[in-house]
């Protein structure tokens, strides 16, 4: 193995999975570093769970290969891969006690009960469930089962831990608490976590890197910061956080910026990886928190827009304005909002050049809509 391979602990190389006519995973290549908290993020049906199952060995890829710790494990069955999974419904064996559940993977490695005991106790303490050994699945709450599932998957100290939307069934406060706990455990143990979720907030708060997927394709792989501030497709832009989309025509293309005519206004946008020619129809995206109302400083983009909606959100306001047939949302800090503004009035909205990204107009269908 050459040096480049050893940088990544897990490599998915051109993984494709076809079920009859449906292509669930389409030529996905991902490289994951050892000790990383890596998330697969996307809407339901995007292929993230299938990809996870392929890594686990529970599903065979139609083509492509998987490298784990430098070894090709594509043909290695699940029970011989040094990877464990925490399932969405936990899958605690109901006919075994908690203790026997956790002993199970050790038993499969032919470790005697005597040798196993301290390991089991240690991992129970890790998830704060010591003393629960004699209980059975039906005697546990959802959150408790989840922790046992985690303990069971960790006790063998696998090379990587796969988690399939483990927090989906928990209610909000518990979920947030578990996110912190999971992150702490991961940092303590230094084990690679591959985490599947459809909750983008969850992915952004917990991950070192994220692969954003849709319809079996990875749209972008990057750090939370990159995903959020430099989305590479309108899908990623619209899926993560809130995003404004405007349409216009590119009037002038310079080395560093693009001048776009939107309705009666001219705006200046950042020039990125997409090749835009003059006269081309384009999509302009800018985050609401980067849309400033009546900014004191002079902004390269300034538009006169009619105030249409004011929504108080507790620690901030979401302000919606309209111009030229487009809606623009803006987030204003609680203190920063001038309450004297009336609905229907015209206010100035603007943004910086680096905060506006341009896409070719064909990518408009990429945008994910809800409702």
């Amino acid at each position: 193995m050459n040096a480049k391979n050893s940088k990544y602990q897990i490599k998915l190389v051109d993984i494709t999975k076809r079920f009859e006519e449906v292509i669930a995973v389409n030529n996905v290549s991902i490289n994951i570093k050892k000790g990383e908290f890596f998330s697969l993020l996307g809407p339901s049906g995007c292929g993230k769970t299938t990809t996870l199952r392929i890594i686990a060995g529970l599903e065979n890829a139609t083509s492509g290969s998987i490298i784990l710790g430098g070894k090709d494990v594509t043909n290695v069955p699940a029970y011989r891969r040094d990877i464990n999974t925490v399932f969405q419904d936990y899958a605690i064996f109901p006919h075994m006690s908690v203790y026997d559940n956790i002993y199970f993977p050790l038993k499969m490695r032919k470790i005697s009960k005597k040798e196993a005991h301290p390991k089991i106790e240690r991992v129970l303490r890790l998830v704060n469930m010591n003393g629960f050994g004699h209980r059975y699945s039906h005697q546990l709450s959802g959150g408790q089962r989840q922790r046992i599932a985690l303990a069971r998957a960790l006790v063998n100290e696998p090379q990587a831990l796969l988690l399939d939307e483990p927090l989906g069934a928990l209610d909000f406060k518990l979920r947030v608490a578990m996110q912190t706990a999971l992150k702490d455990i991961q940092k303590d143990l230094g084990i690679t976590f591959i985490y599947v979720t459809h909750d983008q907030t969850e992915a952004i708060t917990m991950s070192d890197r994220i692969a954003v997927m849709r319809d079996g394709i990875t749209h972008q792989i990057g750090t939370p910061d990159e995903i959020y501030n430099k989305p590479s497709t309108p899908f990623v832009a619209s899926f993560i956080g809130e995003m404004n989309f405007l349409e216009g025509k590119a009037i002038k293309v310079s080395p560093k910026s693009i001048e776009v005519k939107i309705s009666d206004f001219k705006v200046y946008c950042k020039k990125d990886e997409y090749k835009i020619s003059t006269g081309e129809d384009v999509l302009v995206s800018v985050r609401p928190e980067k849309v400033y109302i009546n900014s004191a400083e002079k902004l390269p983009n300034e538009i006169e827009s009619r105030l249409t909606r004011i929504v108080f959100r507790g620690d901030d306001y979401e302000i919606t304005t309209a111009f030229g047939g487009f809606e623009l949302r803006s987030v204003v800090d609680f203190k920063g909002w001038d309450k004297s503004h009336k609905l229907g009035g015209i206010i100035k909205v603007g943004w910086e050049l680096e905060d506006a990204k341009v896409f070719p107009i064909e990518m408009k269908k990429d945008i994910i809509k809800y409702g």
Partner: protein, 299 residues
């Protein structure tokens, strides 16, 4: 990566064959069973139905005669029609008996529901002969019902019509059929979510309206399945007509059976049996289409 590594990776994905799930191997015993127990016997029976009996031998020439005879001889198809009628009566009666019961247990009873449910279906799985014995005892001239009626003074003489005719057969068949109707019916009634009822009530429907517009339609598949199962059971039975029906209560099953007994015309019997099989198959197909999805084998 180097070309060598690329080649190596390509090779590993090419030697990748889709592993045939172990579950296909699991199918071997049941497939053999299906073949030996269902498919081949039916085929043999089908073939036999085209043969002819002459003297003590069965010829090997294939002919439609047995089937034609079915249509030609009034005895055959008249009794089949009568059996249809009786089976239909049995099913209707069984439904009339079972529906309120199923409704009561599934929607009105809170405690001991399982117990009452088991009490209905247990007779289904046991005591077929015993139930026949019971009805012979009750309905006979010297039977319980008659002696009771005479003792009480309602009648002076034993009522002849109680036994050895169509009525007694229908009663006994209904008795057997009730659990067959009850099970799918109960299952479908039980599955109706409470909040549908609540929604109907909330929107202003009284108990009767709720029943007509919500419960009845939703229980229709179970009702259909129950009716059909009871129909098959009643249509194909021959022991009950034999024990309780006398000469007036013969059903199609008896005719089929007699071909294998005294008349000893197996080809004819096979043809008649196959007609019965065909009817049952149609009924089952209808049940699969319009009835509830699990049938009587729902857990």
């Amino acid at each position: 990566m180097s070309i060598a590594t690329k080649e190596k990776l390509k090779k590993s994905s090419n030697t990748y064959r889709e592993r045939k799930p172990r579950s296909y191997i699991m199918g071997i015993p049941i497939s053999i069973w299906l073949f030996i127990i269902v498919i081949i016997p039916v085929v043999f029976m089908f073939i036999m139905s085209f043969k002819l009996k002459s003297g003590y031998e069965i010829t090997n020439i294939l002919t439609f005669k047995n089937y034609l005879d079915f249509f030609k001889k009034p005895t055959y198809w008249k009794i089949l029609l009568r059996s249809f009628r009786m089976a239909f009566t049995v099913s209707i009666t069984a439904i009339l008996a079972s529906y309120p019961l199923a409704y009561f247990i599934s929607r009105k009873l809170k405690k001991f529901r399982n117990l009452f449910y088991m009490m209905i279906i247990t007779p289904l799985w046991v005591s077929y002969l015993i139930r026949i014995i019971a009805w012979r005892t009750i309905l006979g001239n010297k039977g319980l019902l008659n002696s009771l009626l005479i003792n009480i003074g309602i009648t002076k003489e034993p009522l002849e019509f109680l036994l050895y005719n169509q009525v007694s057969v229908v009663i006994a068949l209904t008795y057997i059929a009730i659990p067959f109707v009850f099970i799918p019916l109960y299952t479908s009634l039980e599955k109706i979510p409470d909040n549908l009822i609540n929604a109907a009530r909330d929107l202003g429907a009284n108990e009767f309206n709720t029943f007509i517009s919500v419960i009845l339609p939703l229980s229709a598949p179970g009702l259909f399945t129950g009716f059909m199962l009871s129909f098959i059971v009643a249509l194909g039975d021959y022991i009950i007509p034999q024990q309780l029906g006398g000469t007036g209560g013969i059903m199609f099953g008896n005719i089929v059976w007699s071909q294998f007994g005294t008349a000893s015309n197996w080809p004819q019997g096979s043809a008649l049996g196959f007609i019965l099989f065909f009817i049952a198959a149609v009924v089952l197909a209808l049940t699969q289409k319009f009835g509830s999805r699990e049938g009587i084998l729902a857990e």
